[in-house]
């Protein structure tokens, strides 16, 4: 697996599409997590009490006290979509360029090739999350200085819990992208389907949550479990004006377990598909 991991790291590390997606991820995180709440706060009028209260509530998530959750609050929806994109890009392109036959005919067994690819993607996601937390720390310190609102930095344990939870969510979405790309042998369809699921279907299910069967189903979807895990770390839920997708549908441990099950199912299905399949 080590050899496959090194090969995958070279491929991912030099790929312009990966650099672009990392940039988009960081910019979106900073803009919606810090820039947008800060300017809303700045622009709010002290005379309009209700508007002012909403603006203060919004900017609280941009302060250092929320550092453990704000960088991962986007993962249930938009950053999750980007994680699907990474998985689908890294895998689907191998079919598009027909390099899958090169990868699978060099000697390492197919399972170790897949393990190497998944490990490289997890390392990539972990690096993005660390970068995301680092930029968030700087941004939150700037917001704190500019707003002069009283706040405290979270403990190292809380930040690590946020990082770990973020990695679990991102890895789950990414492995879904990998599986879709293997099933559909390409890039465009898996990305399209992944985005439709993460951005549209999950939202539609939320609107139908009052229907008993749909309600139960909706609580256990990947997006709902991701949102519940983030909320369990004390992020503001969407219902209280927090980031879209952050919900309190499941307790934290249940949400983490559901995410682990999805991750395991996606990985095992990928291994089964690749091991049994002919490659063109």
């Amino acid at each position: 697996m080590r050899r496959s991991l090194y090969a995958e790291m070279l491929k991912l590390g030099k790929r312009p599409a990966v650099h672009t997606t990392i940039g988009v991820w960081l910019v979106l995180s900073l803009f919606f997590g810090y820039v947008f709440p800060y300017f809303t706060y700045r622009g709010s009028s002290a005379a309009a009490a209700e508007e002012r209260a909403a603006a203060i509530a919004g900017v609280l998530d941009a302060l250092p006290a929320s550092l453990a959750t704000t960088p991962i609050a986007g993962l249930p929806v938009f950053a999750g979509a980007l994680a699907i994109l990474f998985g689908a890009l890294a895998t689907g392109s191998e079919y598009g360029w027909r390099t899958m036959k090169i990868v699978l005919s060099q000697g390492p067994p197919r399972t170790s090739v897949i393990a190497g690819k998944l490990a490289a993607l997890v390392l990539l996601l972990a690096s993005i999350l660390v970068l995301s937390f680092a930029t968030a720390a700087v941004a939150s310190a700037i917001v704190e200085g500019a707003t002069e609102l009283p706040t405290a930095w979270p403990s190292a344990g809380a930040v690590l819990a946020g990082l770990g939870s973020g990695l679990l969510i991102a890895a789950m979405w990414c492995s879904a992208g990998v599986l879709l790309a293997h099933l559909l042998r390409g890039t465009a369809m898996p990305i399209g389907l992944g985005l439709v699921w993460a951005l549209a279907v999950e939202n539609l299910l939320r609107t139908g949550a009052s229907i008993p069967v749909l309600g139960t189903l909706q609580r256990y979807t990947p997006g709902s479990a991701a949102g519940s895990l983030v909320a369990a770390l004390d992020a503001t839920p969407q219902s209280a004006g927090g980031t879209p997708g952050v919900s309190t549908n499941l307790p934290g441990l249940t949400a983490a377990a559901v995410l682990l099950v999805y991750l395991a199912v996606f990985v095992i299905a990928t291994v089964l598909v690749v091991r049994r399949r002919d490659v063109n």
Partner: protein
């Protein structure tokens, strides 16, 4: 004792009701250059894909370097170029080789050596998306050579190369073979195969219709006889040697006998009062053998 690098027994692959490869018994001996010939769609690539584990046979068996197809231990000793080279377009030629090198635990020094071997050292830093077809083909061969394999499985390696490139590729393959490597080379370029292969197998409509040395597959040559009146000469030769041995090949008559019978045939025609203006020996070309063998299969 001769050992075999590749052996198949009744190897078959069907796609629905279509038999792409039909019960072939291939035998590629260690250290030889084996030409795998066939028209487009004859089943060559499907066979090669089965041999390297990229496709599963419907029935039959195969061993490659003593192991089942796709076995990691055999793949680690096999260099592969199947169909057109598959490359990462955003990486340079050097990085493409480095990626394969990482899968196979081959270092940077070997990558540079292979770039030299395939004539891409100067273009090594250039992105592959800017490579010409010929350069891509050479890089594909380079990928196959990277792990210094015992067995090379090359599918149409000269595709897309200009005439000078074809000659270079032929010299490269001849050099590889002289190092004791086994080369299984699929091609439809009969003249190329004739120049570098020790043995050949001919595939037609998924069936292996011939296998052996070039001389064995080409079969017997023929005496080319020019005699007048031609109709009488044809009659006489058919009576003496049987209709199977005589073929009208205007402006001459081809007679399938051994070359040392030339004088005797000439004398018989002269004795019959025919005017013989030429008797010469003609080897059967690989192309003739190929078309005869594949035409028979197509008629089935």
């Amino acid at each position: 004792m001769t050992t075999d690098s590749v052996v198949t027994h009744q190897l078959s692959r069907s796609f629905g009701s279509v038999k792409a490869v039909d019960a072939i018994d291939l035998e590629v001996r260690a250290g030889e250059v084996y030409g795998f010939l066939g028209a487009n769609g004859a089943g060559k690539t499907t066979t090669l894909r089965m041999l390297v584990g990229l496709a599963r046979p419907t029935s039959g068996k195969a061993t490659v370097l003593g192991r089942p197809p796709g076995d990691p231990r055999a793949l680690a000793r096999t260099g592969i170029l199947i169909e057109e080279p598959a490359l990462y377009p955003y990486l340079s030629g050097r990085d493409n080789l480095a990626v394969v090198g990482r899968y196979t635990a081959v270092g940077a020094r070997r990558v540079e050596a292979v770039l030299e071997t395939v004539g891409l050292a100067e273009a090594a830093a250039k992105r592959v998306s800017r490579y010409s077809l010929g350069m891509r083909q050479r890089l594909g061969v380079g990928m196959a050579l990277l792990k210094d394999p015992e067995l090379l499985v090359l599918d149409e390696p000269a595709n897309g190369l200009d005439p000078a490139g074809v000659v270079q590729m032929r010299e490269l393959l001849a050099g590889l073979a002289s190092d004791g490597r086994t080369v299984l080379l699929s091609s439809h370029a009969l003249s190329e195969v004739g120049q570098i292969c020790d043995r050949v197998g001919i595939l037609a409509a998924g069936r292996l219709v011939a296998q052996g040395t070039l001389a064995e597959v080409r079969g017997e040559g023929a005496l080319l006889i020019t005699a007048e009146p031609q109709a009488e000469a044809l009659d006489l030769l058919r009576k003496r040697f049987g209709p199977q041995a005589v073929r009208h090949q205007p402006p001459a008559i081809a007679l399938t006998v051994s070359p040392d019978q030339a004088a005797s045939v000439n004398r018989q025609l002269n004795d019959a009062g025919l005017d013989v203006s030429g008797v010469s020996w003609q080897e059967r070309s690989m192309a003739e053998a190929f078309f005869d063998l594949t035409a028979k299969e197509d008629d089935r």
